[in-house]
Symmetry: C2
Subunit: 312 residues, 2 copies
């Protein structure tokens, strides 16, 4: 791309900065921002590649929004408050219609997630979006994967499997008689395209979370990450997993329903452990327990998810 | 790529973390690091795409080293001390030989630039490397592009044009009688493949720099950035530009010599302005002045570089 094209791209993003914490935003060699006194900086990087993480027909608004939400979700899972982000955008060409949509989605994410765009790099090449998010936590208060203790309860936010069903829909795996109602399709797709980084649980997590992770690999795989990092076993009661009505209606079988709920990795809900005595607020579902041992145990077959011990 | 391949890749990078400032490194949802008390966090993102920023035949050691140095150079240009980095690596396949070389180059950069690897994301796709570097500066002490004042002197570190000559060599533009001696070729290629982020000028820049930028677009283009951000004009004395002996010997003509020195964008030397009374240390060349006006003026034709006023 020519210099003029890079300048054009820059103009689409120029208005997405700002905020009290950004001392120097887009336009210099680097950005400068303030980490609140007594707090530590938290950083996570997340890449989305066309054909791998999203379909070529995905709206640029949704590509942008989802890229930011997926990265921001890692901050939420650490109990970190959002500060700002950088965007590394690799584009095959400077298509104004695409850039307009992409910047609209980015603007929505900046607003919803309180993550001003501090800087970035635009390059020419196959469509790839890397978002690096920055947040902060009070010193030594980050909620890691490693703090789960036997006796803790295992909890999850939101509902699971919706984004996996949306993926199946987009792949054309559900069709004919099995196609859900338009309203359900729309809702499930919105769960895939517009995931919610669960910053609403920040103060609860900081106060009570012994361990946390955002579910990006699927419930079983991410539970395994907590179990391994904490040196404990997790038991999951499949009947306690929160499932949306739309998901139940969309599932052609119970096996498929649980395949989505246990293996789906695009919901970006939070999985956390809290001490047994902790009051569980509305919106958080207790789905299991932390016990002595290793690995993840669940009360139903997990259809080839592999590596998981079953009980009952 | 399968999960096992991502785990394999992770193993190559696991030992590149560490350091006093990193409270939580690779392996959790996000990294946690400390910004020194009273300082601000500085962040810059830089992407390198195969076929665009490097050749397919470039050694993976050099791809890694150059990607980090190019990003780190932006910290040096802000007067920021290095803290740590994240790596977003998109790879077509998990090739062990390539990964070994890449991790060796990354390790060398981590060591040379004091930038431990704090975290990252590995994805499958066309080869793309995004490095996000983090550093710190005392509050309000970042050296921006916007502080040059009439009367200041314009200075540059190192020698210019070497990496541009190396690019010409790699493209096969110099051949036959005109091919430089093997020793010069090697040295010029090392200037392209192993650029030096100029952290050695950190204390000088912080003490005296009124404005600074790293030369990644070429001397004239980056001088233009300082001029525009500072609202001043810069005059450049072409005879004062530091040129290496290898570059002089490699240049087929004086026109080509200055094309490389004025337009070459891969040296990552620092261009800065300092007040007139400032003592200029060895290793820093005064190449011009800051005057009232706008744009960049130079005492020789700039062969189609476009947009630059000439004087004399």
């Amino acid at each position: 791309m020519a210099t003029a094209e890079f300048e054009l791209i820059g103009r689409y993003f120029a208005s997405l900065g700002g905020g009290d914490r950004i001392a120097l935003g887009i336009g210099d060699d680097a950005a400068v921002f303030d980490v609140p006194e007594g707090e530590q900086c938290v950083v996570s990087t997340d890449t989305q590649v066309e054909y791998v993480h999203f379909f070529p027909e995905t709206l640029p608004e949704d590509i942008a929004y989802r890229a930011v939400a997926a990265a921001a979700s890692d901050l939420a899972a650490m109990g970190a408050s959002p500060l700002g982000m950088t965007l590394a955008l690799t584009l095959p060409e400077a298509d104004e219609l695409w850039l307009h949509g992409f910047s609209q989605g980015l603007a929505a994410a900046v607003r919803d997630l309180a993550l001003p765009l501090m800087g970035g790099d635009t390059t020419q090449g196959p469509l790839t979006i890397t978002i690096t998010v920055h947040g902060s936590v009070p010193r030594d208060a980050a909620v890691t994967r490693g703090g789960a203790r036997p006796g803790d309860r295992l909890c999850v936010t939101g509902t699971l499997g919706d984004a996996a069903a949306a993926l199946a829909l987009q792949r054309g795996e559900l069709s004919g008689d099995r196609l859900p109602e338009a309203e359900d399709v729309e809702w499930l797709l919105s769960r895939f395209n517009r995931p919610i980084a669960r910053f609403e649980w920040l103060s609860f997590l900081r106060a009570h979370g012994s361990a946390a992770i955002d579910i990006s690999d699927g419930l079983l795989a991410d539970a395994e990450h907590i179990a391994a990092a904490s040196g404990v076993a997790l038991t999951i009661d499949s009947t306690a997993i929160p499932l949306s009505d739309a998901l139940r209606r969309a599932a052609p079988s119970e096996a498929r329903l649980f395949e989505w709920a246990l293996g789906g990795g695009d919901d970006y809900e939070l999985l956390c452990t809290v001490p047994a005595g902790c009051q569980i607020p509305d919106g958080l579902a207790v789905i299991g327990e932390v016990v002595v041992g290793q690995g993840v145990q669940i009360d139903r077959p997990t259809s080839g998810a592999g590596g998981y011990a079953h009980f009952n």
